[in-house]
Symmetry: C2
Subunit: 137 residues, 2 copies
Amino acid sequence: MEKIKKILEEKGIKPSIQRIKIFECLMCDGDHPTAKDIYEIIFKEIPTLSKTTIYNTVKLFTDKGILKPVRIREGEVRYDIESDSHPHFRCNKCGKVFDLEKNLLIKEKKEIDGHLIEEKCVCYLGVCRNCRRKREH
Amino acid sequence: MEKIKKILEEKGIKPSIQRIKIFECLMCDGDHPTAKDIYEIIFKEIPTLSKTTIYNTVKLFTDKGILKPVRIREGEVRYDIESDSHPHFRCNKCGKVFDLEKNLLIKEKKEIDGHLIEEKCVCYLGVCRNCRRKREH
DNA sequence: TTCAAAATTGAAATCATTGTAAATAATAAA
DNA sequence: TTTATTATTTACAATGATTTCAATTTTGAA
């Protein structure tokens, strides 16, 4: 609790009860919660909670660099508190998202951490050649 | 045109004019169109076109294995006609998605095909350990 | 305590996608 | 060709996640 307060303050975020709870929820939940998941978990403790607060807060956290949206499938957005880039594993049955080791290198292995791998998806993000030509980057 | 007809028929899909146009659109557009993109392009030729037809058709194509949804960012769904798995590059400025070579191996390079790489995103998909334990797979 | 700024809230709006049922077109049988 | 059957397309309503916005509440400084 005090630890979370410190982390938020270091990033210039006022540690309101809602923000602390949301951060706590993101830390504890190993499956990368959606906005809905977060809302349902915290609503039990703070019944006056608004969904807008969840969206405001994850946006604030993302802007401040302590949170990263993970968009893999189904149009759903999940959130990852780890700032360091690392591979993810998404279950096609339950939709949960797990973190994998950063320097993971899977060649022929079909299994990792007990998960059965069926498909790999790699994407690079940046500025495409067309947009680079238009403006200076 | 005749070529597209054949491809569809081989997959057991009746080649209606809408389906041919949608397939054609997916082939020509190098940026992986969204459902909205497809609608706007084809609407010019077929003004009676319904958005539902776009969604029906991309679902049909996906089920038949000739199309793959690409979900990278922004909650948007784009479509990729290539059936073979390969890396993608998504532009953070314009949102367009480009195909990259299948066996691409980028280590320190910051550039590929003229695109500036800022971030890499790797994801594995399959059945997680929890779901495997529950049922047999 | 008072006041202004920041944070939270609920309700309405938006927007992509899905569901549904009617209309239309294509195909097969008589 | 006519009719019946089936597949396809369409319009419109419904859904659900997210955003907008104005009003209310909380906070912190003076």
